[in-house]
């Protein structure tokens, strides 16, 4: 995401003043204001970090026109919760993989955080996390969606996610035969 860094020197004083505050105010597409810890925002979102560093944060609410109030509330909630959570030692030692740990499994509170979301809110949050460059939140939300797909038949997945089957019966049979090991025997 491009961040406007070409601010004049006149901005400097304002930036200093801002630096004294430890929160930033974000404004959703529908005009609602949310306050979030500056440290957490900068740590969790590459886009917000760029805006903070570039001085393009507005005291009266930085406009995030692409994000609705419900999603932004969840983003802010996540940032604040993250700021308060201490990474558990158990988690670090349990992220076992034979090679490098691919993903850090969601922590208990992160799991709870996404579990309580409705489908709409979850997908909205994926979009917002993607827009704001929030790698960890994208991890956690995409992980949740993959969990929703796991163990479901293709038919069930199509139903849950509103996807049209564009295969012929013969084509599906071909995949099933070629890759029989991935399916359960009847």
């Amino acid at each position: 995401m491009e961040v406007d860094k070409g601010k004049g020197e006149a901005e400097e004083t304002r930036k200093v003043a801002e630096a004294d505050r430890d929160t930033v105010t974000l404004k959703s597409s529908d005009g609602k204001l949310f306050e979030v810890s500056k440290e957490a925002a900068a740590r969790l979102s590459t886009v917000l970090a760029g805006m903070i560093a570039g001085g393009s944060i507005d005291d009266n609410g930085t406009d995030l026109k692409q994000i609705g109030s419900e999603a932004l509330e969840n983003v802010v909630d996540y940032c604040n919760k993250h700021a308060n959570s201490i990474p558990s030692a158990a988690l670090i030692s349990s992220s076992i993989s034979f090679n490098t740990a691919p993903f850090k499994e969601p922590e208990e509170w992160e799991r709870k955080f996404v579990d309580r979301l409705s489908h709409d809110a979850l997908f909205d949050l994926v979009e917002a996390a993607n827009f704001l460059g929030m790698e960890r939140l994208l991890d956690v939300t995409c992980h949740k969606i993959s969990e929703m797909m796991k163990g479901k038949s293709p038919d069930q997945i199509r139903e849950v996610f509103n996807i049209k089957n564009d295969y012929t019966k013969e084509e599906l049979e071909e995949i099933r035969q070629e890759l029989a090991w991935a399916f359960y025997d009847d």
Binding site: F103, P154, D166, W181, D185
Partner: protein, 439 residues
């Protein structure tokens, strides 16, 4: 877990409210975000099922970039082990605590072997090599152990075994009067199911015990190729056939085998040049009255690099041989040391304190030194042998098998196949026409 039911060509069901459908489409309609979701699956079984949802999803999971990424994040897992001793039927010992999806995969493999055994000529199975879903097997006569057939079994596929040409000469060590040692193995990626290599190391070339040469015969696409031979090479010390390895190791077009207690013999299959690599000074191959050099093994690394696993007392040391350093100093690097006393602490079964047990390494360590097989014999109590699987990275241990008076010398790791071979159900035309038909 739900069973999969492929339905009739179902029409889109307008079951979701339009706003929710729109939000879902915004995310899942974005290839990048969909890829983010798919990367979080940990098993290839999920990828296959996802590919059945619609063409666009198949296109994403079957693209080379995605598959490479997925493999890096989720390397193929060990499903179980096949003991190498001659058997009526290859017997799979599945890993403990596999996820449900992988238990299903191992049942497929078991069903495969009980199916094929009905059509195989009477004899015993000797597994020669296993790579990526392919198993190279010699069927030998029960009485005189001569070969009846060489076949490639593909337990991940429904197709019957493929019979390949073989030379009767290669029957088994006993018949060649120690004139040569023979190694048969599959191409590194498992091959096409109709190919294998046969390397012979001919000893006492021209009657001189110091000279050897190697010949390579290959069978490609079911057709036996020409034999190629290396120039004779003088060894610093005589070739020792009773040495540890029965298998050797193919690794990035190079073949390695322990040749005596000081060095590893190497053969470049592309240039047909023989060479040798001295073992690290610290490594001492042990030859006791019970075992021949059962304290070392080799493991494939990246490219032509390989690992040396070395068991000394209650310690396992892992050495990496990095072929990129071609200066004459040592290419060996000690990368890990594992204390078995700590690893086996939880088991607390064996009496390590006395001379009451013997430990040795079993052949076929996992690639990239991920795991090794260890055998522990209880020599005081009841003469039982227990074979263990030890994951070197995590130090996790599990029992593979227990037996009395019956030792295994080699366990073949049975790895998850990679990549899944998706059928080409979609052609270019479809792609243009229905690029986004999935939604």
């Amino acid at each position: 877990m739900d069973r999969l039911q492929e339905g009739e060509e179902s029409l889109p069901k307008p079951s979701l409210p339009p706003e929710e459908a729109a939000i879902i489409e915004k995310v899942l309609g974005n290839d990048d975000l969909l890829r983010e979701v798919f990367r979080r699956f940990s098993l290839p079984t999920s990828l296959v099922r996802i590919a059945c949802v619609c063409r666009r999803w198949l296109r994403i999971v079957s693209s080379q970039g995605f598959l490479d990424d997925f493999r890096r994040l989720h390397p193929p897992r060990l499903l179980g082990s096949f003991p190498s001793k001659p058997q009526d039927l290859p017997k799979l010992l599945p890993c403990r605590e596999l996820p449900e999806d992988l238990i299903a995969v191992t049942s497929h493999a078991k069903a495969y072997f009980s199916r094929v055994s009905k059509n195989i000529p009477f004899g015993k199975y000797v597994i020669l090599d296993m790579r990526n879903g392919h198993m190279l097997v010699a069927i030998v006569d029960v009485c005189d152990r001569t070969r009846i057939a060489v076949i490639v079994c593909t337990p991940f596929k429904a197709a019957p075994p493929v019979y390949l040409p073989f030379s009767q000469l290669s029957a088994y060590r006993g018949t060649n009067k120690g004139e040569f040692d023979m190694f048969e193995f599959l191409p590194e990626d498992g091959g096409d199911g109709r190919s294998y290599f046969e390397v012979r190391v001919i000893k006492r070339y021209n009657g001189d015990p110091r000279f050897i040469l190697a010949t390579v015969g290959s069978c490609e696409g079911g057709v036996r190729g020409e034999y190629r031979a290396t120039e004779p090479m003088r060894l610093p010390k005589g070739w020792c056939w009773s040495c540890r390895s029965t298998r050797g190791l193919l690794c990035g077009n190079k073949f390695y085998v322990f040749s005596n207690d000081e060095y590893i013999l190497g053969l470049d299959l592309a240039t047909m040049i023989l060479f040798y690599i001295y073992l690290p000074e610290e490594v001492e191959m042990v030859n006791t009255e019970y075992d021949y050099y059962k304290n070392v093994d080799l493991s494939r690394g990246e490219g032509s690099n390989f690992y040396l696993i070395y068991l000394k007392g209650f310690q396992i040391c892992v050495w990496l041989h990095d072929t990129r350093h071609s200066d004459n100093t040592s290419n060996w690097m000690l990368i890990d040391t594992i204390s078995l006393l700590q690893v086996f602490d939880a088991l607390a079964k064996h009496d390590f304190s006395s001379q009451g047990c013997r430990i040795y390494l079993l052949e076929r360590s996992g690639d990239n030194a991920e795991f090794v097989y260890l055998s522990i014999s209880d020599t005081i109590d009841n003469y039982s042998d227990t074979d263990y699987l030890l994951h070197l990275k995590t130090r996790a241990v599990e029992v593979v098998s227990e037996s009395h008076w019956q030792t295994t010398s080699l366990l073949n790791p049975f790895m998850m196949i990679w990549p899944p071979t998706f059928p080409a159900v979609m052609n270019e035309e479809d792609e243009d026409e229905r690029g986004h038909a999935g939604l």
